[in-house]
């Protein structure tokens, strides 16, 4: 190396050094570009979702374990269609329909859907209004005790509120959603009675306990009584016996 090759930051660089520097800079840019292509290609791998279609429906409002709307049977939904209801952002819909339990309500909301997981979003009181139609209410039937493996997600993000809305990178976010009142769901490893997810509830049929936060986003096995409400399955889990892997 001649004297002119010796690099002193505040002196003009020699030609040889300038050439090395340009080659070095191009190598750095090239390596970063190649890594960007490789790392950018990671798939979210959870299937397409729709966010934003308007939905209008009339059905019976159910407040527990989480706000739900059960529409009467039709050709596409022989048992009736049970919609999860959610609020704005990371809030549940508990603020709406306080006086509607067991009554008929008309919903005008926004639909978030991934596969069979559907949630209607409501952000103002006039989006969920009482209708004076007489109703005999809705029937919850027990399908007996089950032990089911899957991943607990929050019902809004896994429906498409955020993508992927599942997985460990999303755990804290899902906990924030469920603590805000959004319904936790168990996305099952194998279909149960033809369904790929169950709404989670406490043993007494109320909202899932806070302990659900320790179980989100990881493979878990839950035991409990499976209930059918319209076309939705609800798992009233024994939270104390939950198994994590």
């Amino acid at each position: 190396m001649s004297r002119s090759d010796f690099f002193v930051g505040y002196l003009p660089a020699s030609r040889a050094l300038r050439r090395t520097a340009v080659i070095g800079a191009l190598t750095l840019c090239g390596a970063f570009a190649a890594l960007a292509i490789a790392l950018g290609r990671t798939p979210a791998d959870i299937g397409p979702s729709d966010y934003g279609d308007d939905i209008a429906a009339t059905g019976v409002f159910v407040a527990q374990p989480y706000p739900l709307l059960v529409t009467p049977p039709d050709a596409a939904h022989p048992r009736g269609r049970t919609l999860l209801l959610g609020g704005e952002g990371k809030r549940g819909a508990q603020d709406f329909g306080r006086d509607l339990e067991g009554r008929v309500a008309r919903l005008a909301g926004i639909l978030v859907r991934r596969g069979e997981i559907e949630m209607a979003l409501v952000s103002a009181a006039d989006q969920l209004q009482r209708v004076d139609t007489p109703t005999s209410g809705v029937q919850t039937t027990s399908l007996g005790r089950w032990r089911i493996t899957g991943e607990i997600c929050d019902g809004k993000c896994v429906a498409g509120g955020m993508r992927p809305g599942a997985g460990l990178a999303h755990k804290a976010c899902a906990n924030l959603c469920t603590s805000g009142g959004l319904p936790p769901v168990l996305v099952t490893a194998r279909p149960i009675e033809g369904r790929n997810y169950l709404l989670l509830a406490a043993r007494d049929g109320g909202a899932a306990p806070d302990a659900v936060a320790d179980l989100t986003a990881i493979p878990v096995t839950l035991e409990g009584e499976v209930m059918r409400l319209g076309d939705m399955l609800i798992l009233r889990a024994d939270w104390a016996t939950a198994r994590k892997f």
Partner: protein, 351 residues
């Protein structure tokens, strides 16, 4: 080289360095986002998630690169120019990491009645588990360190804290890197489906470790020579006078990680401490420019005869005494007080 403290000022080389680095970062972010947004609708992340992943992975790659520069420059002097402006690299990494954290906080921890920062610290408390551990907090720890180091990167802080303390503080970059590796391993990498990060992250971390081991092995070899020299009491034979090229030095390691640089300036030989007063740069790997020993790292200069930086600068190095015996140079390993003038040893380059 300063009266009070010496900011290493701006110059054309630094501007080139920063522009090249800025271009590499911009290219990375742009390509990452374009590729990720081009994925099939069902396989595609949200825009916000894509951005947080682009910034996060960019900060990780930059941090890995920074940690490679030190050992690379020890192993091969051609990397010295990269070391010269490493601090700007670090500050830029900190900005990219802040963008990553901002996207995370404005997406995963927003839209809720809970304050985003409270949510960040409180919404996952599965501390007892590896899978499900609040890996975000490891990111927070790393970001705090990066921010502290970026804020104290200026030479003002080097002078204010004194070099040993500044150096000790900035060694915490290794703790930050360990936190980031754990942050990614316990977060994004636990996704079961295969992703390039599964290979890229271990490859980067292993490269960082391997380069440090290689540089340490080289240092250990030098230290062994030092121990041998140290066993000799009194004057040490350091070689033939003709073995030192004009304007260059040989480095003689002594005990206690101390070394001496013996420089030739024309027919004169002189010995000074090898560690630069600025950031301990290896002066013996430098050159004599305009009559002064010039540090290869940031170009601080010292006079060979008394170890003093030329006025108005005030840095002083220890000098050492040399003598000649039958064409061999001998070094007295006892240092003179910094700034002591020593008569140069006359030894023509070609006898």
């Amino acid at each position: 080289m300063s009266v009070a403290y010496t900011p290493v000022g701006w110059n054309a080389n630094k501007i080139f360095y920063d522009v090249a680095l800025g271009l590499a970062v911009a290219a990375y972010l742009w390509i990452f986002m374009a590729v990720a947004e081009g994925m099939a609708p069902g396989a595609r992340f949200d825009d916000a998630t894509i951005e947080m992943r682009a910034y996060g992975s960019c900060a990780f790659l930059m941090l890995s690169a920074i940690l490679c520069i030190g050992p690379l420059a020890r192993l091969d002097t051609r990397f010295l120019p990269v070391l010269y402006n490493r601090r700007h690299f670090g500050v830029m990494t900190c900005f990219v990491a802040i963008m990553h954290a901002r996207h995370v906080i404005a997406w995963y921890f927003a839209f809720s009645p809970v304050d985003p920062y409270v949510a960040l610290l409180s919404s996952n408390t599965s501390f007892a588990r590896l899978a499900g551990f609040p890996f975000e907090l490891l990111g927070v720890a790393a970001l705090l360190v990066l921010t502290l180091l970026a804020a104290t990167s200026h030479d003002f802080w080097l002078n204010f804290l004194t070099p040993p303390r500044w150096k000790a503080l900035h060694m915490s970059i290794y703790a930050a890197y360990a936190c980031v590796v754990a942050h990614v391993s316990l977060g994004a990498l636990l996704t079961p489906q295969w992703q390039a990060m599964h290979v890229v992250m271990p490859a980067c971390a292993l490269t960082v470790v391997a380069l440090h081991l290689a540089a340490a092995a080289r240092q250990a070899r030098l230290d062994r020579t030092a121990t041998m020299a140290n066993e000799a009491v009194g004057w040490i034979d350091v070689g033939e006078a003709s073995g030192i090229a004009d304007g260059r030095a040989i480095i003689v390691p002594l005990s206690d990680a101390e070394s001496v640089a013996i420089f030739r300036n024309g027919d004169a030989l002189g010995a000074i401490a090898n560690a630069c007063r600025h950031q301990n740069g290896p002066l013996g790997e430098g050159r004599i420019i305009d009559g002064c020993v010039t540090c290869p790292w940031h170009g601080f200069q010292y006079r060979l005869e008394d170890g003093c930086a030329p006025p108005p600068y005030t840095e002083k190095l220890a000098t050492y005494n040399l003598r000649s015996a039958n064409g061999w140079i001998q070094l007295d390993p006892r240092p003179n007080p910094p700034g002591t003038r020593v008569e140069p040893l006359h030894a023509p380059a070609r006898p």
